[in-house]
Structures are given as structure tokens and as C-alpha cells.
């Protein structure tokens, strides 16, 4: 297996500035590799560039410098629509379509990919069960008839529906109450293990990072300042790592 095949996602000296270079760099010379099956957590404060980094993977942003490789091909060489349909995407408020039922939301990408009606219906059922929602009870509901946690479950089901090899998640559990958040984190952890997806997960919560990550990358001002597995991460001595570690102590610490 070549390196390109092992690394489903790879950043090679990537910088990104909005407005085609007029503004300051949000992402500054980042190189990283995401091997197949890894759950990479991008950790950082607000404005550290973690969301921008995520959007460089599915062609919502294009690198100003360097290359982002997905499945061995630079994103610039991909057809953006094809690239995105192969990458699941979950964001904080779920971004469900309010005028669609839960089933229509989950079945959207399969529908765009012209699956047959029966195949979509079967898949929607599977996906809802996978995220712990009874299809009979939830399939025909509208997003407004769901709790925040249920909406987020639907968001995950929708992202997984077309069985993409890559899953991008931008603070998916950030807006939930602490109890629901812990519930979803635990379920997601076991789900991620079973599905063997390559996941890039953005959060500013170190506890969440330690729980879910197989690898953690810490960003500060658009640069990578620390990169380690969850076991070694807290032993790093970079000031930003210490700052995050201190945030754990304040909350009664898992460290």
C-alpha cells in the first residue's frame, strides 16, 4: 500500500486566506496526515482555525497555498460535488432541512445519488436505528418536533446515509446540555469504532477530545502547536496544551 492510499486525508503545507489572499492567513502552513480509520480531533480555541481546516477537506474552502489530498487526489482536482457526496458532514445545530421530514433529511444524499426509493427507505430505517431513533416513531416527524439531542442524532444519520468513507464533524455536540452531550459522546464513540470511518472531529472541549480521539491535533492561530495520541497529549509541555489542561482542572478534572 502506498502512503497516499493509507492516508485518506493529507495536508501538504496548506495555508488558507479568505478573499483570495487579501486577508491574514487563517490556516498557516499546516501539514498533517489522517490514516484510514482514524478519529482525528482538531482541538483549539474559538478562532484557532479548526473549522476552516475542516472545510478545506470537503472543498468548502480551497487552499491558497499547498495541497489538501483526499483519497490520494488534490481537492482542486476533484469535482466539488463528487468530493462532498463522499464525505459526511455534521455541524453544531445539525442544519437539518426544516421543510423535510426526518426520513427525507436522512435520505437526501442517497436521493441525490439516484438510489431507488426502496433502497433509500431501507437505508433510512437502518440509519435511524443506528443512531438510536425508532423509525416508526421518528421517520415522519419534522426537525422542529425533535429535541436538540434527537436532531443531532438525525444529523449523524444523514451524514452516514450514503456510506461515505470520511466523516467531518464540527462541534456536533456543542449546543447540547451536558447530560445529553455525554450520552451522545458515549454512543458516538462506540458507533465510530464499529463503522471504521475516518473521522475528523472539531471541538474546543479537551474532555471530548480525550474521549473520542485516536489522535489529537491542537491548533493555535492557524498553526499546529501539538500533535499526539490521547494518552500522551496531556504530557506535552506546550503552553497551549497546559492552558487546555488547566481548563480540565477547573471543572474538577479528568486528568
Amino acid at each position: 500500500m502506498t502512503i497516499a492510499e493509507q492516508n485518506l486525508i493529507e495536508f501538504r503545507g496548506v495555508s488558507w486566506r479568505p478573499n483570495s489572499g487579501a486577508d491574514a492567513a487563517i490556516i498557516d502552513d499546516v501539514s498533517l496526515e489522517v490514516p484510514r480509520g482514524e478519529t482525528l480531533v482538531l482541538l483549539g480555541r474559538s478562532g484557532s482555525g479548526k473549522t476552516s481546516l475542516l472545510k478545506l477537506i470537503n472543498g468548502m474552502h480551497w487552499p491558497s497555498k499547498g495541497q489538501v489530498m483526499v483519497e490520494g487526489r488534490a481537492t482542486r482536482e476533484w469535482d466539488a460535488i463528487r468530493l462532498r457526496r463522499g464525505i459526511g458532514y455534521v455541524i453544531q445545530e445539525a442544519g437539518l432541512f426544516p421543510h423535510f421530514t426526518v426520513a427525507e433529511n436522512v435520505g437526501l444524499v442517497p436521493g441525490l445519488e439516484n438510489w431507488t426509493k426502496e433502497k433509500i427507505a431501507t437505508r433510512v430505517k437502518e440509519m435511524l436505528q443506528l443512531v438510536g431513533l425508532q423509525p416508526e416513531e421518528f421517520a415522519q416527524r419534522r426537525p422542529r418536533e425533535l429535541s436538540g439531542g434527537q436532531r443531532q442524532r438525525v444529523g449523524v444519520a444523514r451524514a452516514l446515509a450514503a456510506d461515505p468513507p470520511i466523516l467531518l464533524m464540527d462541534e456536533p455536540f456543542g449546543a447540547l446540555d451536558p447530560v445529553t452531550r455525554a450520552e451522545l459522546q458515549r454512543e458516538f464513540q462506540s458507533l465510530a469504532r464499529r463503522l471504521e470511518k475516518t473521522i475528523v472531529f472539531v471541538t474546543h472541549d479537551l474532555r471530548e477530545a480525550l474521549l473520542l480521539a485516536s489522535h489529537i491535533i491542537l491548533l493555535e492561530k492557524g498553526r499546529i502547536v501539538a500533535s499526539a495520541g490521547p494518552e500522551e497529549f496531556l504530557r506535552l509541555q506546550h503552553p497551549e496544551v497546559l492552558a487546555f489542561a488547566a481548563s480540565l482542572d477547573v471543572r474538577g478534572g479528568a486528568a
Binding site: M60, I81, L83, Y89, A94, G95, P98, H99
Partner: protein
């Protein structure tokens, strides 16, 4: 009051045909304004220069006093002259701004998280327009149609000044002869038309709203 009722009863037939004429003017002008305004509104969602131009021009038409707009159109070949056609062109131009503006607003003021998901899921811009923006913005678009309809019903009374007929015929005659019955025989049906249109379109609008 009894004078008014007697007058209206006596001229029932004329009032009825003037009302139908009025409705015809409004319906044709509204259909034209919707056929121009809604597609144009879709077109300017992602084209900033065209947007400024289109909203600017539509805005200018709105600022021209309606009687003057009718007057300006008369000498223009093909669309001008005395009669219905000129009136319909003027009414269409008048109705355009609320429809265009509401179409643009309806299609753009959508939860950014929803648009971001749509894009990230690999929907094309056309799919986002027709399957996300349009269904979510249609109540706002219809609100523009409703505003435009009510304006048009009112402004259409002035069309009588250039020989287009309609309920304005009674109003102009009533003003000229200082005859309240005549004036009200035009004004009351016009007001009723506006109220009914407002009510019906308002109901439809509430039904289309996605919460």
C-alpha cells in the same frame, strides 16, 4: 347613505362590469410582474452586480408617482398609447419591486446552517435553489405578491385616467362632478377587492410558512 345605495342599485350592471375590468387589469399585471419578478429574484441571489441594478431600477419605478408613470408611458411606441395595454405595463412596473425584493429576501435569509449543510452534502447550486431556498422562502415571496396585489388594486383606479377603464372611471367622474355617490361607487368595490385579496393571500401565506 340611502342615496348611495339607490345609486349603486341603479348602476349595478356598470359597477359589476367596471369591477371585472378592474380585476382583469390587476390579474394580468400581477401575472406579468410575478413572471418577471420571481425568476429575476432567483437570478440575483448569487449575482451582486445584477442585484444592485435590478433592485435599483425596480426601486426607481416605485418612486415615480403613479399618475406620472402612466403619463410617461403614453408616448412610448408599442407599449404606450391610450388604453389597457399602457395601464398594464405601468401596473406591472409598479408591482415589480415588492415581488423582486421579497423573492430576493426570501431566498437569501435562510438559516446559514441549513445552507452550509446543503452545500456540504454535495447539492448543486440549482438543487439548493429549488429544493432548499425556494421552499423555505416561498412564504416571504408570497408576502411580496400580497403587498404588490394590494398596491396594484389601488393604483389601478388611476388607470382610468388614461382610458383603461376599471373602477377608477367612477372615481374620476365623481371627483369631476363633485358627486360622492359616484366616487364611492368606485372606491368601495376597490377597497373591498383589496381587503378580500389581502385576506386570501394572507391565509395562503400562513399555510406556506415553514416553522
Amino acid at each position: 347613505m340611502t342615496g348611495l345605495w339607490r345609486f349603486m342599485a341603479q348602476h349595478q350592471e356598470e359597477i359589476r362590469s367596471a369591477t371585472l375590468e378592474h380585476v382583469e387589469l390587476v390579474l394580468i399585471a400581477m401575472a406579468a410582474a410575478i413572471l418577471i419578478g420571481v425568476p429575476l429574484g432567483m437570478l440575483i441571489v448569487r449575482r451582486a452586480k445584477l442585484r444592485a441594478l435590478a433592485l435599483g431600477i425596480a426601486g426607481i419605478f416605485q418612486t415615480i408617482p403613479s399618475l406620472a408613470l402612466f403619463g410617461f408611458l403614453i408616448p412610448i411606441p408599442f407599449i404606450g398609447g391610450i388604453g389597457k395595454r399602457t395601464a398594464i405595463v405601468a401596473l406591472t412596473l409598479y408591482a415589480l419591486l415588492p415581488i423582486l425584493r421579497n423573492t430576493y429576501v426570501g431566498l437569501t435569509e435562510i438559516d446559514p446552517a441549513v445552507l452550509e449543510s446543503a452545500e456540504a452534502m454535495g447539492m448543486t447550486q440549482a438543487q439548493i435553489l429549488f429544493r432548499v431556498r425556494f421552499p423555505l422562502g416561498r412564504a416571504v415571496i408570497l408576502a411580496g405578491v400580497r403587498t404588490a396585489t394590494i398596491i396594484t388594486i389601488g393604483v389601478a383606479t388611476i388607470a382610468a385616467a388614461i382610458g383603461a377603464g376599471g373602477l377608477g372611471t367612477f372615481i374620476f367622474r365623481g371627483v369631476a362632478l363633485v358627486n360622492d355617490s359616484l366616487l364611492l361607487a368606485g372606491a368601495i368595490p376597490a377597497a373591498l377587492l383589496a381587503i378580500v385579496a389581502d385576506f386570501l393571500l394572507g391565509r395562503l401565506e400562513r399555510r406556506l410558512r415553514v416553522t
